[in-house]
């Protein structure tokens, strides 16, 4: 039995995710979209906090909300003139989007729902994700250790920096 606070919190988060997701993709003002996205990201972080992954929630806020959103906002400001809003959608386009979304969600939803008893699983109470464990796992070479991906992603990020430079360079 969950505490009432948890339940209320869950509903707030869930509704926020749903509502702001929808708003993100339907808002005709691009800056508003970005703002709604920020709310979605916060709500996601809320989920992480709620299920006990505080570190992850923090990363989510720091990287996404702090980093990526800034990038978005800057680029929006760079590329759009104020007061610009998107044209209305054509029915054709809407229809295409809806079919794709429904097809994707439908298939996934059906698959998930068909896995009934697993989906109805509750959260187990004891969870031990302290920051030390995370740190050790991150640099461990044993099973459930992530040293190699950690090193590998550094290469990826380096490559992306170089790539960014290549693209951004004037000449």
């Amino acid at each position: 039995m969950e505490s009432v606070g948890n339940i209320v919190m869950y509903f707030i988060i869930a509704i926020a995710i749903i509502v702001f997701s929808v708003l993100t993709v339907t808002s005709r003002k691009i800056l508003r979209s970005a703002t709604y996205l920020l709310f979605v990201l916060f709500a996601t972080a809320g989920i992480y906090f709620q299920i006990g992954y505080e570190f992850l929630g923090a990363v989510q806020i720091a990287v996404y909300a702090g980093g990526i959103m800034v990038l978005f906002v800057f680029s929006i400001l760079l590329t759009s003139r104020p007061g610009n809003s998107a044209e209305r959608l054509t029915a054709h386009k809407k229809w295409l989007g809806l079919t794709a979304a429904i097809a994707g969600v439908g298939v996934c939803g059906y698959s998930l729902l068909s896995y009934g008893e697993l989906m109805a699983r509750n959260m187990s109470v004891n969870l031990n994700v302290d920051i030390q464990r995370i740190g050790e796992a991150l640099l461990s070479t044993d099973k459930w250790g992530y040293l190699l991906p950690f090193e590998a992603i550094s290469i990826l990020l380096l490559a992306c920096i170089i790539g960014g430079v290549v693209i951004a360079r004037k000449r």
Partner: protein, 103 residues
């Protein structure tokens, strides 16, 4: 009332659906990138939720999410660079500009 795994997955799925919808309907390339963020985010939620509910003993899903956030950041950065690049070339961020090559 119990909060089951499903109850977390459903918002995530809807988020994913919204991402898909947005990707296909939006015209602004940055809006499309925003939609993509939604999709990636929903995947992250899936991983964490699966980890927490089904396999609480280890942190595979969480770490995947951690790395996925990193990857997403890199992707977004590069994508925005490309969008800016396109903007420089055609002075627009309209995705409909990008249909010169076809068939």
């Amino acid at each position: 009332m119990e909060i089951t795994m499903m109850m977390y997955l459903i918002p995530s799925l809807i988020m994913f659906g919204c991402g898909v919808y947005g990707f296909i309907t939006r015209k602004n390339m940055i809006a499309i990138l925003i939609s993509l963020e939604l999709m990636l985010n929903s995947v992250d939620i899936n991983f964490t939720v699966f980890n927490r509910f089904l396999f609480p003993g280890q942190m595979e899903g969480m770490f995947f999410t951690l790395f996925a956030i990193g990857i997403a950041a890199a992707e977004t950065a590069l994508a925005i660079a490309i969008v800016i690049n396109v903007f420089r070339a055609v002075n627009k961020v309209d995705i409909r500009e990008l249909t010169k090559m076809k068939f």
